[in-house]
Protein backbone atom coordinates (compact mmCIF):
# COMPACT_ATOMS: atom_id res chain seq x y z
CA UNK A 1 0.00 0.00 0.00
CA UNK A 2 1.94 2.98 -1.23
CA UNK A 3 0.58 6.26 0.00
CA UNK A 4 0.04 8.75 -2.78
CA UNK A 5 0.94 11.69 -0.61
CA UNK A 6 4.20 11.03 1.16
CA UNK A 7 3.24 13.51 3.85
CA UNK A 8 5.51 11.70 6.28
CA UNK A 9 7.25 14.11 8.59
CA UNK A 10 9.97 16.35 7.30
CA UNK A 11 11.08 14.79 4.07
CA UNK A 12 14.33 15.68 2.45
CA UNK A 13 14.81 17.30 -0.86
CA UNK A 14 15.06 14.39 -3.23
CA UNK A 15 18.60 14.78 -4.41
CA UNK A 16 20.75 14.57 -1.30
CA UNK A 17 23.78 12.32 -1.35
CA UNK A 18 24.76 9.91 1.41
CA UNK A 19 21.68 7.92 0.63
CA UNK A 20 22.31 5.30 3.23
CA UNK A 21 22.70 7.83 6.00
CA UNK A 22 19.62 9.71 5.03
CA UNK A 23 17.66 6.55 4.82
CA UNK A 24 18.75 5.51 8.27
CA UNK A 25 17.76 8.84 9.74
CA UNK A 26 14.46 8.76 7.94
CA UNK A 27 13.83 5.36 9.43
CA UNK A 28 14.66 6.67 12.88
CA UNK A 29 12.24 9.51 12.52
CA UNK A 30 9.56 7.33 11.06
CA UNK A 31 9.83 4.90 13.93
CA UNK A 32 9.71 7.77 16.40
CA UNK A 33 6.26 8.60 15.09
CA UNK A 34 4.86 5.24 14.05
CA UNK A 35 6.42 2.39 15.90
CA UNK A 36 5.80 -0.93 14.21
CA UNK A 37 7.17 -4.06 12.67
CA UNK A 38 9.69 -4.23 9.89
CA UNK A 39 7.07 -4.59 7.18
CA UNK A 40 5.01 -1.69 8.44
CA UNK A 41 8.05 0.52 8.20
CA UNK A 42 9.04 -0.90 4.86
CA UNK A 43 5.58 -0.11 3.52
CA UNK A 44 5.26 3.24 5.21
CA UNK A 45 8.57 4.42 3.83
CA UNK A 46 8.21 2.49 0.58
CA UNK A 47 11.60 0.87 0.90
CA UNK A 48 12.72 -2.49 -0.47
CA UNK A 49 12.55 -5.12 2.20
CA UNK A 50 16.16 -6.20 2.14
CA UNK A 51 17.44 -2.67 2.32
CA UNK A 52 15.19 -1.68 5.15
CA UNK A 53 16.02 -4.81 7.03
CA UNK A 54 19.72 -4.14 6.84
CA UNK A 55 19.21 -0.64 8.09
CA UNK A 56 17.03 -1.75 10.97
CA UNK A 57 19.53 -4.37 12.04
CA UNK A 58 22.26 -1.84 12.09
CA UNK A 59 20.31 0.71 14.04
CA UNK A 60 19.17 -1.85 16.53
CA UNK A 61 22.64 -3.20 17.01
CA UNK A 62 23.83 0.30 17.80
CA UNK A 63 21.05 0.88 20.33
CA UNK A 64 19.42 3.58 18.27
CA UNK A 65 16.36 1.44 17.83
CA UNK A 66 15.06 -1.30 20.05
CA UNK A 67 13.02 -4.28 19.06
CA UNK A 68 10.44 -5.93 21.21
CA UNK A 69 11.33 -9.61 20.81
CA UNK A 70 7.72 -10.71 21.34
CA UNK A 71 5.99 -8.45 18.88
CA UNK A 72 8.94 -7.65 16.64
CA UNK A 73 7.95 -4.04 16.98
CA UNK A 74 10.64 -1.44 16.64
CA UNK A 75 10.79 1.70 18.69
CA UNK A 76 13.34 4.38 19.45
CA UNK A 77 16.29 3.16 21.50
CA UNK A 78 17.99 4.56 24.56
CA UNK A 79 20.95 5.82 22.62
CA UNK A 80 18.74 8.25 20.78
CA UNK A 81 17.67 9.64 24.10
CA UNK A 82 21.24 9.80 25.20
CA UNK A 83 22.15 11.93 22.23
CA UNK A 84 18.92 13.83 21.81
CA UNK A 85 18.59 14.88 25.41
CA UNK A 86 21.83 16.80 25.28
CA UNK A 87 20.02 19.23 23.03
CA UNK A 88 18.07 20.66 25.94
CA UNK A 89 21.01 20.55 28.32
CA UNK A 90 22.73 23.41 26.57
CA UNK A 91 19.86 25.27 25.07
CA UNK A 92 20.65 28.90 25.74
CA UNK A 93 17.10 30.23 25.59
CA UNK A 94 15.74 27.49 27.78
CA UNK A 95 18.46 28.09 30.31
CA UNK A 96 17.39 31.69 30.61
CA UNK A 97 13.74 30.80 30.66
CA UNK A 98 14.02 28.19 33.39
CA UNK A 99 13.67 30.38 36.46
CA UNK A 100 10.63 32.10 35.00
CA UNK A 101 9.07 28.77 34.15
CA UNK A 102 9.77 27.50 37.65
CA UNK A 103 8.05 30.50 39.08
CA UNK A 104 5.03 30.14 36.83
CA UNK A 105 4.76 26.46 37.69
CA UNK A 106 3.81 27.36 41.24
CA UNK A 107 0.38 28.22 39.89
CA UNK A 108 -1.99 25.49 40.95
CA UNK A 109 -3.53 23.15 38.44
CA UNK A 110 -1.36 23.78 35.42
CA UNK A 111 1.54 22.28 33.59
CA UNK A 112 4.06 24.79 32.30
CA UNK A 113 5.83 24.02 29.04
CA UNK A 114 8.62 25.46 26.98
CA UNK A 115 7.94 24.55 23.39
CA UNK A 116 9.86 24.77 20.16
CA UNK A 117 9.04 24.06 16.58
CA UNK A 118 10.71 21.16 14.82
CA UNK A 119 9.57 20.62 11.27
CA UNK A 120 5.81 20.40 11.24
CA UNK A 121 5.53 19.59 14.90
CA UNK A 122 5.77 21.36 18.20
CA UNK A 123 8.20 19.73 20.60
CA UNK A 124 8.17 20.21 24.34
CA UNK A 125 11.65 20.91 25.66
CA UNK A 126 10.68 21.33 29.26
CA UNK A 127 7.60 20.61 31.26
CA UNK A 128 6.83 21.31 34.88
CA UNK A 129 3.80 21.13 37.12
CA UNK A 130 3.15 21.50 40.79
CA UNK A 131 -0.08 19.62 41.31
CA UNK A 132 -1.54 16.70 39.46
CA UNK A 133 0.19 16.00 36.16
CA UNK A 134 -1.83 16.12 32.96
CA UNK A 135 -1.69 13.23 30.51
CA UNK A 136 0.47 13.79 27.45
CA UNK A 137 1.71 17.10 28.75
CA UNK A 138 5.21 15.80 29.45
CA UNK A 139 8.21 15.95 27.19
CA UNK A 140 8.28 13.45 24.37
CA UNK A 141 4.78 14.02 23.09
CA UNK A 142 4.76 15.95 19.88
CA UNK A 143 1.78 17.44 18.13
CA UNK A 144 1.23 19.00 14.73
CA UNK A 145 1.45 22.76 14.54
CA UNK A 146 -2.22 23.50 13.96
CA UNK A 147 -3.33 21.98 17.24
CA UNK A 148 -2.98 23.19 20.78
CA UNK A 149 -2.31 26.74 21.75
CA UNK A 150 1.43 26.08 21.56
CA UNK A 151 1.26 24.82 18.01
CA UNK A 152 -0.91 27.71 16.93
CA UNK A 153 1.36 30.28 18.49
CA UNK A 154 4.36 28.82 16.71
CA UNK A 155 2.52 28.48 13.44
CA UNK A 156 1.03 31.95 13.62
CA UNK A 157 4.51 33.40 13.97
CA UNK A 158 5.89 31.53 10.98
CA UNK A 159 6.31 32.96 7.51
CA UNK A 160 3.22 33.26 5.34
CA UNK A 161 4.67 30.80 2.88
CA UNK A 162 5.17 28.22 5.54
CA UNK A 163 1.67 28.67 6.91
CA UNK A 164 0.21 28.43 3.45
CA UNK A 165 2.00 25.22 2.56
CA UNK A 166 1.35 23.75 5.98
CA UNK A 167 -2.36 24.28 5.72
CA UNK A 168 -2.36 23.07 2.14
CA UNK A 169 -1.10 19.69 3.33
CA UNK A 170 -4.44 19.06 4.99
CA UNK A 171 -4.27 19.33 8.79
CA UNK A 172 -5.45 16.27 10.67
CA UNK A 173 -8.23 16.09 13.24
CA UNK A 174 -7.21 14.90 16.71
CA UNK A 175 -10.57 15.48 18.35
CA UNK A 176 -13.87 16.75 17.09
CA UNK A 177 -12.82 20.20 18.23
CA UNK A 178 -9.62 20.34 16.22
CA UNK A 179 -9.63 23.24 13.80
CA UNK A 180 -8.89 21.92 10.32
CA UNK A 181 -10.87 24.11 7.96
CA UNK A 182 -8.32 26.27 6.09
CA UNK A 183 -10.47 29.37 6.27
CA UNK A 184 -11.10 29.11 10.00
CA UNK A 185 -7.48 28.24 10.67
CA UNK A 186 -6.26 31.33 8.88
CA UNK A 187 -8.65 33.42 10.90
CA UNK A 188 -7.59 31.86 14.14
CA UNK A 189 -3.92 32.38 13.35
CA UNK A 190 -4.55 36.03 12.50
CA UNK A 191 -6.31 36.37 15.82
CA UNK A 192 -3.41 34.76 17.64
CA UNK A 193 -0.95 37.12 16.00
CA UNK A 194 -3.04 40.10 16.97
CA UNK A 195 -3.66 39.00 20.54
CA UNK A 196 -0.12 37.85 21.14
CA UNK A 197 -1.36 34.59 22.66
CA UNK A 198 -3.54 31.60 21.87
CA UNK A 199 -6.19 29.72 23.78
CA UNK A 200 -7.41 26.30 22.73
CA UNK A 201 -9.72 23.92 24.48
CA UNK A 202 -10.17 20.21 23.85
CA UNK A 203 -8.61 20.25 20.41
CA UNK A 204 -5.79 17.92 21.42
CA UNK A 205 -7.40 15.90 24.18
CA UNK A 206 -11.03 16.24 25.14
CA UNK A 207 -10.39 16.88 28.81
CA UNK A 208 -7.74 19.55 28.60
CA UNK A 209 -6.97 22.94 27.15
CA UNK A 210 -4.11 25.36 27.09
CA UNK A 211 -2.89 28.90 26.63
CA UNK A 212 0.38 29.88 25.00
CA UNK A 213 2.42 32.95 24.14
CA UNK A 214 5.47 33.41 21.94
CA UNK A 215 9.03 34.08 23.05
CA UNK A 216 11.13 36.44 20.99
CA UNK A 217 14.86 36.88 20.81
CA UNK A 218 16.82 40.09 20.43
CA UNK A 219 16.16 40.17 16.69
CA UNK A 220 12.43 39.76 17.14
CA UNK A 221 12.34 36.18 15.89
CA UNK A 222 9.96 33.77 17.53
CA UNK A 223 12.27 31.18 19.02
CA UNK A 224 9.84 29.24 21.15
CA UNK A 225 6.71 29.64 23.22
CA UNK A 226 5.49 29.15 26.75
CA UNK A 227 2.35 27.17 27.26
CA UNK A 228 0.17 26.44 30.27
CA UNK A 229 -1.86 23.27 30.04
CA UNK A 230 -4.85 22.81 32.33
CA UNK A 231 -7.95 20.71 32.66
CA UNK A 232 -10.79 21.79 30.45
CA UNK A 233 -13.15 22.50 33.32
CA UNK A 234 -10.59 24.74 34.96
CA UNK A 235 -9.76 26.68 31.85
CA UNK A 236 -13.37 27.23 30.92
CA UNK A 237 -14.00 29.35 33.98
CA UNK A 238 -13.61 32.91 32.84
CA UNK A 239 -11.76 34.12 35.92
CA UNK A 240 -9.28 31.25 35.83
CA UNK A 241 -8.48 31.87 32.23
CA UNK A 242 -7.87 35.55 32.82
CA UNK A 243 -5.57 34.89 35.69
CA UNK A 244 -3.64 32.38 33.64
CA UNK A 245 -3.26 34.73 30.73
CA UNK A 246 -1.88 37.38 33.01
CA UNK A 247 0.75 35.04 34.39
CA UNK A 248 1.44 33.69 30.93
CA UNK A 249 2.13 37.04 29.33
CA UNK A 250 4.16 38.12 32.30
CA UNK A 251 6.26 34.98 31.95
CA UNK A 252 6.71 35.07 28.21
CA UNK A 253 7.56 38.75 28.14
CA UNK A 254 10.03 38.41 30.97
CA UNK A 255 11.79 35.64 29.11
CA UNK A 256 11.81 37.53 25.84
CA UNK A 257 13.28 40.55 27.51
CA UNK A 258 15.94 38.45 29.18
CA UNK A 259 16.84 37.31 25.70
CA UNK A 260 17.37 40.91 24.68
CA UNK A 261 14.03 41.57 23.03
CA UNK A 262 12.44 44.99 23.37
CA UNK A 263 8.78 45.70 22.59
Amino acid sequence: MTKPKSSEGTSFGASTPLKGVNRALQVLEYVAVHKGRAIDISEGLDLPWATLHRTLQQLEQGGFLQKNPDTNQYSVGSRMWFIGSTYVADHAALEIARPYLERAAKTKGITVQFVEQSGNQSTVLFSLHSGEPITKAATGYHFPLHVGSKGQVLLANSSDDFIESYIAEGPSKLTKNTLTDPEELHQKLAQVREDGYAVTIADVQLFSGSVAAPIFDAKGNTVACVSFVARKSFLQKEENQEALLETLLDTSQSISMSLGWRP
Copy 2:
Protein backbone atom coordinates in the same frame (compact mmCIF):
# COMPACT_ATOMS: atom_id res chain seq x y z
CA MET B 1 46.97 14.38 17.47
CA THR B 2 45.65 10.85 17.28
CA LYS B 3 44.68 9.49 20.64
CA PRO B 4 46.26 6.13 21.30
CA LYS B 5 43.29 4.89 23.28
CA SER B 6 40.13 5.42 21.31
CA SER B 7 38.14 5.33 24.53
CA GLU B 8 35.48 7.49 22.96
CA GLY B 9 32.00 6.52 24.12
CA THR B 10 30.45 3.28 23.01
CA SER B 11 32.43 2.21 20.00
CA PHE B 12 31.13 -0.36 17.59
CA GLY B 13 32.59 -3.70 16.91
CA ALA B 14 34.99 -3.05 14.08
CA SER B 15 33.40 -5.11 11.35
CA THR B 16 29.91 -3.66 10.94
CA PRO B 17 28.69 -2.87 7.45
CA LEU B 18 26.81 0.29 6.47
CA LYS B 19 29.95 2.23 7.15
CA GLY B 20 28.48 5.55 6.23
CA VAL B 21 25.55 5.15 8.54
CA ASN B 22 27.67 4.07 11.43
CA ARG B 23 30.02 6.91 10.88
CA ALA B 24 27.17 9.38 10.89
CA LEU B 25 25.80 8.03 14.12
CA GLN B 26 29.21 8.00 15.67
CA VAL B 27 29.58 11.62 14.73
CA LEU B 28 26.24 12.42 16.30
CA GLU B 29 27.22 10.76 19.52
CA TYR B 30 30.61 12.34 19.54
CA VAL B 31 29.13 15.78 19.09
CA ALA B 32 26.63 15.10 21.84
CA VAL B 33 29.53 14.70 24.24
CA HIS B 34 32.16 17.05 22.85
CA LYS B 35 30.69 19.82 20.83
CA GLY B 36 33.25 21.49 18.65
CA ARG B 37 34.38 22.55 15.23
CA ALA B 38 34.76 20.32 12.24
CA ILE B 39 38.45 19.75 12.81
CA ASP B 40 38.04 18.92 16.45
CA ILE B 41 35.59 16.23 15.48
CA SER B 42 37.73 15.05 12.62
CA GLU B 43 40.66 14.67 14.98
CA GLY B 44 38.69 13.23 17.84
CA LEU B 45 37.19 10.56 15.64
CA ASP B 46 40.27 10.22 13.47
CA LEU B 47 38.32 10.64 10.26
CA PRO B 48 39.57 12.04 6.96
CA TRP B 49 38.59 15.65 6.65
CA ALA B 50 36.62 15.40 3.44
CA THR B 51 34.60 12.46 4.65
CA LEU B 52 33.77 14.02 7.96
CA HIS B 53 32.84 17.25 6.29
CA ARG B 54 30.39 15.56 3.98
CA THR B 55 28.79 13.79 6.90
CA LEU B 56 28.51 16.95 8.95
CA GLN B 57 26.91 18.83 6.10
CA GLN B 58 24.35 16.17 5.64
CA LEU B 59 23.51 15.95 9.31
CA GLU B 60 23.24 19.66 9.61
CA GLN B 61 21.05 19.95 6.57
CA GLY B 62 18.69 17.43 8.08
CA GLY B 63 18.54 19.30 11.38
CA PHE B 64 20.26 16.52 13.30
CA LEU B 65 23.15 18.77 14.03
CA GLN B 66 23.27 22.53 14.23
CA LYS B 67 26.17 24.79 13.54
CA ASN B 68 26.82 28.05 15.26
CA PRO B 69 27.61 30.33 12.33
CA ASP B 70 29.90 32.51 14.43
CA THR B 71 32.09 29.89 16.01
CA ASN B 72 31.53 27.09 13.49
CA GLN B 73 30.84 24.87 16.44
CA TYR B 74 28.56 21.92 15.90
CA SER B 75 26.08 20.72 18.46
CA VAL B 76 23.12 18.40 18.52
CA GLY B 77 20.13 19.66 16.55
CA SER B 78 16.47 19.89 17.41
CA ARG B 79 15.54 16.94 15.28
CA MET B 80 17.57 14.68 17.50
CA TRP B 81 15.52 15.89 20.42
CA PHE B 82 12.37 15.37 18.44
CA ILE B 83 13.24 11.74 17.85
CA GLY B 84 15.07 11.01 21.06
CA SER B 85 12.46 12.42 23.38
CA THR B 86 9.89 9.94 22.16
CA TYR B 87 11.94 7.32 23.94
CA VAL B 88 10.75 8.53 27.32
CA ALA B 89 7.19 9.13 26.16
CA ASP B 90 6.49 5.45 25.93
CA HIS B 91 8.86 4.02 28.43
CA ALA B 92 6.83 1.41 30.27
CA ALA B 93 8.86 1.36 33.47
CA LEU B 94 9.01 5.13 33.71
CA GLU B 95 5.28 5.36 33.22
CA ILE B 96 4.73 3.10 36.17
CA ALA B 97 7.34 4.90 38.23
CA ARG B 98 6.00 8.38 37.63
CA PRO B 99 3.42 8.61 40.41
CA TYR B 100 5.96 7.36 42.94
CA LEU B 101 8.51 9.85 41.74
CA GLU B 102 5.98 12.64 41.94
CA ARG B 103 5.23 11.72 45.48
CA ALA B 104 8.88 11.55 46.48
CA ALA B 105 9.52 14.93 44.87
CA LYS B 106 7.36 16.58 47.50
CA THR B 107 10.32 16.15 49.85
CA LYS B 108 11.90 19.53 50.34
CA GLY B 109 15.34 20.28 49.03
CA ILE B 110 15.86 17.40 46.65
CA THR B 111 15.69 16.62 42.97
CA VAL B 112 14.23 13.24 42.15
CA GLN B 113 15.58 11.40 39.13
CA PHE B 114 14.78 8.28 37.20
CA VAL B 115 18.01 7.08 35.68
CA GLU B 116 18.96 4.46 33.15
CA GLN B 117 22.22 3.13 31.84
CA SER B 118 23.22 3.80 28.26
CA GLY B 119 26.60 2.48 27.28
CA ASN B 120 29.13 3.75 29.78
CA GLN B 121 26.98 6.58 31.00
CA SER B 122 23.99 7.09 33.21
CA THR B 123 21.20 8.99 31.53
CA VAL B 124 18.47 10.83 33.37
CA LEU B 125 15.07 10.06 31.86
CA PHE B 126 13.05 12.12 34.26
CA SER B 127 13.85 14.73 36.81
CA LEU B 128 11.62 16.56 39.23
CA HIS B 129 12.08 18.89 42.16
CA SER B 130 9.82 20.94 44.32
CA GLY B 131 12.10 23.63 45.72
CA GLU B 132 15.21 25.16 44.25
CA PRO B 133 16.58 23.26 41.27
CA ILE B 134 20.11 21.88 41.45
CA THR B 135 22.56 22.59 38.67
CA LYS B 136 23.14 19.73 36.23
CA ALA B 137 20.46 17.65 37.85
CA ALA B 138 18.07 18.02 34.94
CA THR B 139 17.65 15.70 31.99
CA GLY B 140 20.31 15.93 29.32
CA TYR B 141 23.33 15.77 31.59
CA HIS B 142 25.05 12.46 31.43
CA PHE B 143 27.78 11.19 33.68
CA PRO B 144 30.07 8.17 33.57
CA LEU B 145 29.00 5.15 35.55
CA HIS B 146 31.57 5.33 38.30
CA VAL B 147 30.45 8.73 39.55
CA GLY B 148 27.38 9.77 41.44
CA SER B 149 25.23 7.46 43.46
CA LYS B 150 23.12 6.77 40.38
CA GLY B 151 26.07 5.68 38.31
CA GLN B 152 27.43 3.49 41.08
CA VAL B 153 24.11 1.79 41.65
CA LEU B 154 23.82 0.99 37.96
CA LEU B 155 27.42 -0.12 37.70
CA ALA B 156 27.26 -2.21 40.86
CA ASN B 157 24.33 -4.12 39.42
CA SER B 158 26.06 -4.86 36.13
CA SER B 159 27.81 -8.09 35.26
CA ASP B 160 31.25 -8.68 36.71
CA ASP B 161 32.75 -8.67 33.24
CA PHE B 162 31.29 -5.32 32.47
CA ILE B 163 32.49 -3.83 35.74
CA GLU B 164 35.93 -5.24 35.19
CA SER B 165 36.32 -3.86 31.71
CA TYR B 166 34.77 -0.56 32.71
CA ILE B 167 37.23 -0.02 35.50
CA ALA B 168 40.07 -1.19 33.32
CA GLU B 169 39.41 1.69 30.97
CA GLY B 170 40.57 4.11 33.60
CA PRO B 171 37.74 6.08 35.20
CA SER B 172 38.07 9.82 35.00
CA LYS B 173 38.13 12.30 37.87
CA LEU B 174 35.37 14.91 37.88
CA THR B 175 36.25 16.42 41.24
CA LYS B 176 38.92 15.69 43.78
CA ASN B 177 36.43 13.44 45.54
CA THR B 178 35.72 11.20 42.57
CA LEU B 179 36.59 7.60 43.27
CA THR B 180 38.92 6.35 40.56
CA ASP B 181 41.22 3.90 42.27
CA PRO B 182 40.26 0.42 40.98
CA GLU B 183 40.62 -1.21 44.37
CA GLU B 184 38.51 1.36 46.19
CA LEU B 185 35.94 1.34 43.42
CA HIS B 186 35.50 -2.39 43.63
CA GLN B 187 35.03 -2.11 47.36
CA LYS B 188 32.53 0.66 47.05
CA LEU B 189 30.53 -1.25 44.46
CA ALA B 190 30.47 -4.33 46.68
CA GLN B 191 29.19 -2.14 49.47
CA VAL B 192 26.50 -0.69 47.24
CA ARG B 193 25.38 -4.15 46.22
CA GLU B 194 25.19 -5.23 49.83
CA ASP B 195 23.41 -2.13 51.09
CA GLY B 196 21.01 -1.93 48.18
CA TYR B 197 21.70 1.76 47.78
CA ALA B 198 24.53 4.22 47.21
CA VAL B 199 25.47 7.53 48.76
CA THR B 200 27.98 9.86 47.17
CA ILE B 201 28.97 13.37 48.12
CA ALA B 202 30.76 15.94 46.00
CA ASP B 203 32.14 13.44 43.53
CA VAL B 204 30.28 14.97 40.59
CA GLN B 205 29.97 18.57 41.66
CA LEU B 206 31.56 19.94 44.79
CA PHE B 207 28.39 21.40 46.21
CA SER B 208 26.02 18.48 45.82
CA GLY B 209 25.56 14.85 46.69
CA SER B 210 23.04 12.14 46.08
CA VAL B 211 21.55 8.85 47.13
CA ALA B 212 20.28 6.20 44.75
CA ALA B 213 18.66 2.77 44.77
CA PRO B 214 18.08 0.25 42.00
CA ILE B 215 14.79 -0.65 40.36
CA PHE B 216 14.19 -4.28 39.44
CA ASP B 217 11.77 -5.78 37.00
CA ALA B 218 9.81 -9.02 37.35
CA LYS B 219 12.82 -11.08 36.32
CA GLY B 220 15.07 -9.42 38.86
CA ASN B 221 17.06 -7.40 36.32
CA THR B 222 18.15 -3.92 37.26
CA VAL B 223 16.35 -1.77 34.74
CA ALA B 224 17.00 1.65 36.18
CA CYS B 225 17.47 3.49 39.43
CA VAL B 226 15.94 6.27 41.46
CA SER B 227 18.18 8.98 42.69
CA PHE B 228 17.71 11.94 45.02
CA VAL B 229 20.11 14.80 44.49
CA ALA B 230 20.60 17.37 47.25
CA ARG B 231 23.01 20.04 48.33
CA LYS B 232 26.09 18.77 50.05
CA SER B 233 25.39 20.59 53.29
CA PHE B 234 21.92 19.12 53.45
CA LEU B 235 23.02 15.58 52.75
CA GLN B 236 25.85 15.68 55.23
CA LYS B 237 23.50 16.04 58.17
CA GLU B 238 23.01 12.56 59.50
CA GLU B 239 19.30 12.91 60.19
CA ASN B 240 18.58 14.30 56.72
CA GLN B 241 20.40 11.50 55.06
CA GLU B 242 18.54 8.88 57.04
CA ALA B 243 15.21 10.38 56.21
CA LEU B 244 16.12 10.52 52.55
CA LEU B 245 17.24 6.93 52.47
CA GLU B 246 13.98 5.86 53.99
CA THR B 247 11.97 7.65 51.35
CA LEU B 248 14.33 6.46 48.66
CA LEU B 249 14.03 2.79 49.48
CA ASP B 250 10.30 3.11 49.90
CA THR B 251 10.10 4.69 46.45
CA SER B 252 12.41 2.29 44.66
CA GLN B 253 10.85 -0.79 46.18
CA SER B 254 7.34 0.40 45.42
CA ILE B 255 8.31 0.89 41.81
CA SER B 256 10.05 -2.46 41.56
CA MET B 257 7.03 -4.18 42.97
CA SER B 258 4.74 -2.40 40.56
CA LEU B 259 6.92 -3.84 37.84
CA GLY B 260 6.26 -7.32 39.17
CA TRP B 261 9.39 -7.80 41.22
CA ARG B 262 9.20 -9.73 44.47
CA PRO B 263 11.92 -9.64 47.14
